[in-house]
């Protein structure tokens, strides 16, 4: 209460300062005037009365100052004075100020950019009403999951079992009906890209199915039109409605409000747009924005799915929908977990047959404030490594500014000594130095934040392959990032101000005045101020070692033999709408497209496959050799390909044959297997002519091909068997491979024409070269090479400024000493070498410490490296060599200046 009164009175004084001063004047004048009147009334002449009143009152200005102090305004006045003084000081040495502010701006800018990425990828909650009350449903079980099929995210649990966020639709309905701890339990499912026809033009849009209570549960309301309601989420032929995202509305409709009520076709089905989502809300999966939201129960219409036996909505054995809930106010997680686990056990028992050979799943309640969060998992480690790197850069910048401040502090010793002698308290001087530090820091911080804002999306751009139109995630620049950046700035300023403050408050008043900041020899304390240089060098070496490791990793990955010839291959993907092409018609369409594309001029040979090679994806399945039922460990990778696949990709056939025109849906099922497959399933035997069992089919091995890297260049070639795509299950999207001879652009036009000739509504997407595709899987490695190199160079520049600054200052201070040496006959060369020797010894100490620190730190990035040890001798030696060379270069300028000193001038220097 009292504290509040004090604060409001202080605030009144601060914010209405002129009123405060005027009222104070008026009040004191009233006092004196009243006294004068009383004196006059008692018979004193007015002039005498006035002077007596003034005398008895005492010094008016001193009283005012006491009044100001009484309400805490004094501190503020002092601060304003300090700031004015600090700015004047900084203006007096513009060179120093520019270097310091630039160092700080680079350090703080890098940190701000990374913070804005961390905000986007790790911290920011969904832009919905009370996101903290949302919970995501998931389950964990042993390795043998209870359901036969699933579609969605799953991961390994800590105990080595399975965990997933997918549920069957009947299970969702039962959970939703029986629970009482949530306000709303709702379901959703992103279904990837679907074909939408708008005004007769076909394009691919990211679609998502949502339950009728989704909008109510998520707590988001469309900016225009209405949300999807329970009435919309019905089975059967009633009108299908859609809500579109703000981004899609802007991109495709130019923010035209009349789209509400318009009809588009999604996968051939007419769909009416009824609403537009608010900006920022683009679904519950950060980094995977959805364009079109449609009711979940319309799934059979808008998204035909053949794999689930009874249809997705009715099959209890197919787990695919994501379920979230909005907790009732005050509900406790532990109780909710217990209640839902109970219901979940019942539901699993009731909907699925009793499978004793499977592991029973258990319900797990997860936080839903970031929705189904894939970004965190994907980017947490790289972002923490980046945060550490930019933290080190900032440390160098901080040390750099501290070095510069220290050099200046010694030239300012006389000034500070004088102020101490005149009675300024040490605390007062420290406050002045801190204010100067903060003024510098804020200057650097302002430029840094601008810089960070400017480069914030450079990093996500480096991570996303160029042919993907959608940005995976964008940096978020919000108040939290700004506050953190401010915190970083203040902490940095205090950090680098400590060195000069520490020196100032220990300063002996007498010595400071006596030798005026100069002595004949300064080598009594050779490391004074140089420990900061050692620190800068050490941190630079750590960053350089990191850069070396990442460069070698990328180098090694690029040099990996992938087992096929990637150059000259063009890739593109076609995903025919299922409503138009299903089953045999789908396979026939792909055969037709294959023929048409192979005939395009400039294409030497063409093929198609379910998974493109080294593109980040691969599929695995169970196989049994010699027609046996596969055991739990009989797993191999599989790719469904067309004829000419091995020829087009340049994969050698080492025995037997490849697929040819005779293989098709009506001929006997055959497979080609890789050499590694033979080694694992038919060791030391001839695999040709043997059978393998996969699913409910038996395949004859007709060929053996060379090994290739499948999902990524990092993992060794796995055992793979190839099916002809017409003999496998119904394909989804297939990727075509075309080995081209001519001009890429001409060939692409030819391909588009050929596809249009088959079906004018078929979009061709993700056109890229195989080389670009492999590069895209190395995006993260490339990002780290780029950033560690950039920050390594930045660190080098900052450290060399530090070395240069310290030595230049040391030479200036030792002018007399060097003059004496030269006068006594020292060779200029010897002086030059002396300075360089000092520089290199300081650098060598720093480099040694840096190498040791790198030894401790690099193990944390071990999982990100490839083909190189965390303490690679070449990387460490290279880093030390570069650092030494740069240090000697930076030292050579002041060293040469020292060697060129004229002894006479030097001796008169004082």
């Amino acid at each position: 209460m009292k504290a509040l009164a004090r604060f409001t009175s202080w605030l009144r004084g601060v914010t209405r300062r002129s009123t405060f001063e005027r009222e104070m004047d008026e009040e004191l004048r009233f006092h004196i005037d009243s006294y004068v009147e009383d004196l006059v009334r008692s018979g004193m002449p007015p002039a005498q009365a006035r002077s007596r009143a003034r005398a008895e009152f005492g010094g008016v200005e001193a009283r005012k100052e006491e009044c100001r102090e009484a309400v805490g305004l004094r501190l503020l006045d002092d601060l304003a004075g300090d700031v004015r003084y600090a700015v004047r000081q900084l203006k007096r040495s513009p060179g120093f100020t520019a270097v310091a502010i630039t160092s700080l701006a680079l350090g703080i800018g890098a940190n701000t950019a990374i913070l804005s990425l961390m905000e986007a990828a790790l911290w920011k909650t969904l832009p919905v009403h009370e996101p903290d009350r949302l919970r995501l449903f998931s389950w964990v079980s042993g390795p043998r999951a209870v359901m036969n099929s699933s579609w969605g995210n799953w991961w390994r649990s800590v105990a080595g079992g399975r965990a997933s966020t997918s549920f069957s639709y009947p299970a969702y309905e039962a959970l939703q009906r029986r629970q009482a701890v949530f306000d709303t339990v709702f379901a959703f499912k992103p279904i990837g890209r679907v074909t939408a026809v708008i005004d007769g033009e076909a394009e691919l849009v990211a679609a998502q199915l949502v339950s009728g209570n989704f909008y109510q549960g998520v707590g988001v309301h469309p900016r225009a039109g209405r949300p999807i309601a329970a009435d919309d989420d019905t089975r059967g032929g009633s009108e299908t409605v859609a809500v579109i995202s703000d981004g899609f509305w802007a991109r495709r409709f130019g923010r035209d409000l009349s789209v509400v009520g318009r009809q588009i076709r999604v996968n051939q089905v007419p769909v009416t747009i009824v609403g537009i989502n608010p900006p920022l809300f683009d679904g519950l999966e950060p980094g995977e924005p959805t364009d079109v939201f449609m009711p979940l129960r319309k799934q059979p219409l808008v998204y035909s799915f053949r794999h689930a036996r009874a249809g997705l909505l009715d099959d209890p054995d197919y787990w695919w929908v994501l379920v979230m809930g909005r907790l009732k106010a005050g509900a406790r997680d532990a109780e909710v977990q217990t209640e839902i686990e109970g219901i979940f056990q019942q539901v699993v028992r009731e909907t699925l047959p009793n499978r004793t050979d499977r592991d029973q799943p258990h319900f797990r309640l997860l936080s839903g404030s970031r929705g189904q969060d894939n970004l965190r998992e994907q980017f947490a480690t790289p972002l923490f490594v980046l945060a550490a790197i930019v933290g080190l850069v900032l440390l160098i910048a901080c040390a750099n500014v501290a070095t510069l401040l220290l050099s200046r502090a010694s030239t300012r010793r006389r000034e500070l000594g004088l102020r101490l002698a005149l009675g300024a308290g040490r605390w007062r001087i420290a406050r002045q130095l801190l204010t100067e530090g903060l003024a510098l820091g804020i200057g650097g911080g302002v430029f840094g934040v601008i810089l960070g804002y400017w480069v914030r999306d450079a990093i996500p751009h480096l991570l996303v392959p160029s042919w993907v139109a959608e940005q995976q995630f964008n940096a978020v620049f919000d108040s939290r990032v700004l506050i953190l950046a401010l915190g970083v700035t203040v902490a940095t300023s205090v950090g680098f101000s400590l060195a000069p403050i520490w020196r100032a408050i220990r300063e002996e008043l007498v010595t400071a005045l006596k030798d005026g900041g100069r002595s004949a020899t300064d080598s009594a304390q050779p490391l004074r101020g140089r420990s900061l240089v050692v620190l800068q060098v050490a941190v630079s070496v750590v960053l350089l070692v990191g850069a070396g490791l990442f460069v070698r990793t990328l180098w090694n990955l690029r040099a990996v033999d992938v087992g096929f010839r990637p150059d000259g291959i063009l890739l593109f993907t076609i995903d025919p709408p299922r409503a138009k092409y299903a089953d045999q018609a789908r396979k026939a369409l792909f055969e037709k497209l294959h023929e048409a594309i192979a005939a395009v001029p400039g294409i030497e040979s063409a093929s198609l496959s379910e998974s493109p090679l080294v593109a980040g994806g691969s599929s695995r399945t169970r196989v049994g050799p010699d027609n046996r039922q596969p055991g739990p460990k009989d797993e191999a990778w599989v790719n469904d390909v067309g004829a000419q696949f091995f020829e087009t990709m340049g994969i050698p056939i080492v025995a037997g044959r490849s697929f040819d025109a005779h293989d098709g849906s009506n001929s006997a099922p055959v497979v080609v297997v890789s050499e590694r497959f033979v080694r694992e399933f038919f060791p030391d035997q001839n695999a040709l002519g043997r059978m393998i069992r996969n699913g409910d089919k038996a395949f004859l091995i007709v060929g053996v091909c060379g090994d290739v890297r499948f999902g990524s260049a990092r993992t060794p070639a796995p055992p793979i068997f190839y099916r002809h795509f017409t003999q496998a299950r119904e394909p989804g999207a297939l990727t075509f491979e075309a080995r081209t001879a001519g001009d890429g652009a001409v060939v692409v036009n030819g391909i588009r024409r050929a596809v249009r000739a088959v079906d004018k509504d078929l979009p061709v997407f993700n056109i890229r070269t195989q080389t670009a595709q492999i590069d895209a899987t190395l995006a993260r490695e490339r990002l780290f090479v780029t950033l560690t190199l950039a920050f390594g160079v930045l660190a080098l520049v900052l450290a060399s400024i530090g070395i240069y600054g310290t030595l230049a200052h040391a030479v200036a201070r030792r002018t007399s000493e060097i003059g004496i040496r030269l006068a006594l006959g020292a060779e200029p060369r010897a002086v030059l070498l002396m300075i360089l020797r000092e520089a290199s010894s300081v650098t060598a100490i720093g480099a040694g410490l840096g190498a040791a620190a790198a030894g401790l730190l690099t193990r944390y990035v071990q999982t990100m490296l490839f083909g190189v040890a965390p303490l690679d001798p070449a990387a460490v030696a290279g880093a030390i060599a570069v650092m030494m060379a740069v240090a000697v270069l930076a030292a050579s300028l002041p060293a040469r200046r020292a060697a060129r000193l004229d002894p006479m001038v030097a001796l008169r220097h004082d």
Partner: protein
Amino acid sequence: MPTKPAELLQGTLDMLILKAVSLGPLHGYGILLRIQQVSKNRLDIQQGSLYPALYRLEHQGLIASEWGQSENKRKARYYRLTAAGRRQLQEEARNWNRMADIIGGILAASPEEA
């Protein structure tokens, strides 16, 4: 012969101000007059030192001020006691009386009792 006014004891000015305004709102000059009148001019108060004390007390929330009209028709700032100020005054008065009793008792002690 009139006795010389007593010097104000350290820290007692605040208490006197609180006491003065406890009887009703007063402006700064009025507070001075009231203290002099009640003390029958036996206390020597530095006129100027009154204001920093007033500002400090207001800052602490013990008194509150507002502008009003003085008896000679001028604008003046009037101070009044707040609830917190009243509590503080009671507290200080009690302490003061206790202290005065003890000190008085000590000073009144005759040599035999020591």
